[in-house]
Every structure is written in C-alpha cells, then in structure tokens.
Subunit: 174 residues, 2 copies
DNA sequence: TTAAACATGAAAGTCGATTTCAAAAGGGTG
DNA sequence: CACCCTTTTGAAATCGACTTTCATGTTTAA
C-alpha cells in the first residue's frame, strides 16, 4: 500500500489537471474510475470497470460508470477500442485489406493493400498466438462527417444513432 | 438488367459450389443473401442486409438472415469485421499500438509498436478522410484457446459466451 | 418419386447493455 | 461559508440485437 501512494498521488494530480482542462468537476467517483482505468490492464468493459471500482466504493452505481466513461471519452481521456462495436458487420472480402472506420457515422471502407504484412508480423507477437488474419484499422472522420462537424472533434457517437434516416447519417458505404 | 445476368450467373455458380463444399442446401433465400453480400459495398449489418434482400424477396424474415449469416460465417464464406463487436471496450493507451484479438475468447492484448505508421499512411487513403488514429488488428487464437481447440478451426463465437466463469473463458487480460 | 433432412417465416422471447428519473449529495464560485 | 448547479444513486424502464419456437414448405439423396 505504502508503495503505491506515490504513483497514486501522481495519478490523482494528472487526473485533476485533466478535469480542469476539460471543465469536469473533480469527484471522488470519477477519480476512482480514472485510477481503475489506468491500472487495469487490457481493455475493460463498463461492467468490468464497475466490478472493480465497487471494491473500493461499494455505493458506486453502474449508471455512474457509464456517465463517467462518456465524459472521459468525450474529453479524449480514454478511447473506444473500436467505434463499430455495436453489432455484427459482415466482410465478404477474404483477402488482406484494411479498414477505414468513421468514428462518427461508423461507415467502414476497405483499402486493399498488403504492404503492411511483412512489417506487422515480424517479432513482437507473443508466443502461442495463432494468427488468422490482420487488418489495419484506421479510425477518423470520413469526408462527409469531417465536413459536417467542421474542425471540432466529434462527440462520442451513441449506439443506434445512425439507424434511422435522421441525424448525421448520410447513406454511407454499407 | 441484361448486363448483369452474366456475373449473376457466375455468382450463382460459385454460390452453388460453396454450398456443396460446405454441405449446405442450396435455397433461394441463401442465394439472394449471398448475392446481396457480394454486391453490397462496405460491411453491412444484418439489418442492412435484411433491408436490401427484402426488396427482392419481401417475405424474407430477419431470422433467416441471421441463420444464413451464421451458416456462411461458420463455413468461412464471409467473415466478421471484428470479433469484439459486443460492447464498449475502453482503451486508456493513447499511444499508437496494436491489438491482438482472440476470435474465441475475445480477449484483447496490446502490442506497442509504431513501425507500421509510415507504411500505412502513405497514399491509398481516399481524399477527405481525416485520420485520428490507427491500429493493426491481429485476429486469431490466443495461446490458451489455441491449446483448447487444438488444430480445429474455432466455430463462430456467440455473443455473451464468455461472460460467466463457465465455458471456454479463462480470465483473459482484462 | 418419395421420404428424411433441412430450411423458412412470423411472432414471441431472451438477455445483456445502456438510459432514465427523482431524490439526495457534492463541488465550485463569489 | 452560502448557494446554485452539477453529479451520484439505485431501481426500473428501455433498447437493440439477436434467438428460439414450431408449423409449414423445400431440397436432397436414394
């Protein structure tokens, strides 16, 4: 415990700065969630974060975790692993190719190219991982969304936001 | 219309061969779905496929689309864009890094490395796409899942399959 | 052709993920 | 320190994405 206090304080300090920079109130819950995020290896889901954070703050509610994650995502303090986590997406192109994913409208466009192949796979892979395929995922704003949102960063897209004709949908390349 | 019939027949022929090779009955619905998949640009969701296919076969049901997609996925006729589409996953590492994703247990492991950067972004990108970040997604079987499933290909994983302690879960790197 | 095996459609069901809401508590600014 | 606005809570409601069911219709293999 004693050993952690230095890094914990450093984390707390950087968290406070992040909050101020992003005009977020510094609350105990947010601080605990932030620390959990920074200390959890891998790519935790909201439920996993909730489970961990509850050990420290048993009164924490799942709703708070979701809201805090949204705040952090919006502020760019953390990222989503993938902007297209909502539902199954089919890919009929079995060749190696890459994906341009719009973080706003979630459209996915292919780029054929396997120049990446030789570089990507030399070394670095842990022993035992059996590679089936790989793709470079390039996340950003497609031309239309870039035009719509202008220079401003897009806010974190919500699930289902694009399912009807309304909103920022614009018949992407699906 | 006339112009398409040649490629349509070719598609139909390859579809029949795929079905025979995979011991799938050749049905009209499957054929229509297959053609839709091959003709739809991008990476359609089941709903989008359903919407398109309905134009041709109004009686088609969403359940059939799902069942057919599963058959196709199982047979390797198409792929999932990403094996981790189930729910939000948080990534607190804002540096460029890559993801090793297990197609069986859906664990995600980071690999730090930006050797890919210079190659990936030269040329190829369509005009107007505003890149925010990129990551090489390497899909395959992690060591444990590779050991469990042996040489056999893993069947298409189902949602929620790994959420409890049971099944093939083995406390991945979350 | 014909029977067994398999596929389909419509509707209801499941289920995890996420949001809502009203009340209570907590920050931050003056 | 006071006051107002933002946050947190906890439970319930919602949502969206699939899945199951089962009676009926097709496909296939012999």
């Amino acid at each position: 415990m004693r050993m952690h206090s230095a890094s914990r304080e450093a984390l707390e300090a950087s968290f406070r700065e992040l909050c101020h920079r992003n005009q977020l109130a510094v609350t105990h819950q947010r601080s605990v969630i932030y620390r959990a995020l920074m200390e959890m290896p891998g790519h935790p889901s909201p439920e996993e974060i909730f489970a961990r954070v509850r050990r420290e703050v048993p009164s924490m509610s799942l709703a708070t975790v979701y809201k805090t994650l949204h705040s952090f995502l919006h502020a760019g303090i953390v990222q989503e692993v993938s902007p297209h986590h909502g539902s199954l997406r089919i890919d009929h192109n079995l060749n190696t190719h890459h994906h341009l994913v719009c973080t706003n409208c979630r459209s996915i466009t292919d780029i054929d190219d396997d120049a990446v192949r030789p570089i990507a796979l030399c070394g670095r892979l842990p022993r035992g991982f059996r590679v089936e395929r790989y793709a470079l995922e390039i996340h950003g704003l497609c031309e239309r969304c870039a035009a719509q949102t202008g220079g401003a960063a897009a806010s974190a897209p919500r699930r289902g936001r694009h399912s009807s004709g309304a909103g920022s949908r614009h018949a992407p390349t699906h």
